[in-house]
Amino acid sequence: MIEILATGALSTVQDLGREGSLRFGVGTSGAMDDLALAIGNILLGNDCNAAAIEVPILPFKMLFLEDTDFALTGADCGARLDNREIPPWWCLHASKGQVLTLGIPQSDARAYVALAGGLDVAEVLGSRSTQMRGNFGGFEGRPLKKGDRLQTVARTPGATPRSAISAHGFGVRPPAFGLPLHAASEDGVTATAVRVLPAGEYDSYTDASLEQFWLARWQVTPQSDRYGYRLAGPVLAAKHVIEKRSHGIVPGVIQVPQSGQPIIQLRDAQPSGGYPKIGTVIEADIWRLGQTRIGESIRFLKTSYQEAVAAQEEKQRYLAQLSLAVQMQRMANS
């Protein structure tokens, strides 16, 4: 069990998301950086879908109320276990009474704290993710606050022991190295690159707007959160007025409201909307958005359905290989 000693707003319990309920009007929720969540769980020998804490606004502080292994993935936030510095993308053992402190990240947007066994909150519609729109799931359907105490899932016989990692732990290479994706930029300014499939109303935009869509660096505005990112850049104009009835949408959809400034719908997006859709960020790249900060820029790279499927397969392969390497390391460590 752990106790939250300090947290910014909007730290939540998340797993990989609540799939299969969009038809009931229930959004997916789930970790904004699903890869970081999965890797935290892999480091601990957990199921990839085990629930962990997503920490978007730092600092964050928690107390270990029992001995347990834990993992820290996502943004590098100068973490400390008591006074000892912990490298990013790392797992190690904490003793009862130790305090984990996350500081301000120098880059990236979200850190994940996973515990051996995974967090034990009730599953709702097959997921432990916090559903912010409906105030259910996760921990009491709300963001975590000071004084909250969270349990880990009780061990089943034969499960990975809670304390299998030596005190100094080990880490993995951040996935940006194993799954690199770079957008060329003439002036050396870096932008998060994501691959995008043209969506339903793509052909309704002017040629000039479509050219801008693929060329521009889109800035993430302060009106961006788990619901979606509002972007700033060139104004996208349609050839004619597009009026649509509300229809189903999924995380990753890029809508264009009247302003001509796109919105990328994300994990807590509502499951339907009426704005025209110019594109969809492929599933395999949504984690890259999850680590893009307000003020940073995004580039859209045009891709095809086949490439999108291949990218998802590559991501699964990467996780499978990482899992194998971690298992060997855990065996050597124990």
């Binding site: 000892r84 005190a167 993995v172 290479r173 951040p174 190295f177 390391q329």
Partner: protein, 144 residues
């Protein structure tokens, strides 16, 4: 295992520039160490031991008398900088505390930490991005 086999192993160690070799079999265990190398197996635990023995604040005196060589706890690509960071864990001539992370060894996608077994002033022996073998001397830590 007989003397000839041991001699052969030592020859192989010298030819391969290996400093320490451990061989475990169900019925025996052999550990060969070429002289002048100190292996610091479990520095983190060692720190805890040092703290338990010495009164607070005197743990540094443990290392005051001699230079400690920190060797690689694993083979791998050595670096004093985590790839997600701009700054290195440590810089040459820096004062380090017992248990500080001095660097990492990368084995494919896995990182194994190199920790300081003592407090003192740091002198690095290996450049970043060099592939090192098990027990390769990586740092010398002099009296604080």
């Amino acid at each position: 295992m007989n003397n000839d086999e041991l001699r052969e192993l030592i020859g192989l160690m010298e030819a391969g520039d290996l400093h320490v070799l451990e061989l475990k079999r169900p019925d025996f265990k052999v550990r060969l160490e070429i002289a002048n190398e100190t292996r610091n197996g479990l520095p983190w635990q060692a720190c805890n031991v040092a703290e338990a023995i010495d009164a607070p604040g005197t743990a540094t005196s443990y290392a005051a008398s001699a230079t400690t060589v920190v060797t690689a706890p694993h083979f791998g690509i050595f670096s004093t900088r985590h790839p997600a960071r701009q700054e290195a864990f440590v810089e040459e001539a820096q004062q380090v505390a017992c248990g500080d992370t001095l660097g990492v060894l990368r084995i494919n996608e896995i990182y194994v930490p190199v920790l300081s077994p003592v407090a003192g002033s740091l002198h690095r022996l290996v450049d970043d991005e060099v592939l090192v073998g098990y027990a390769t001397p990586l740092f010398e830590i002099g009296a604080a």
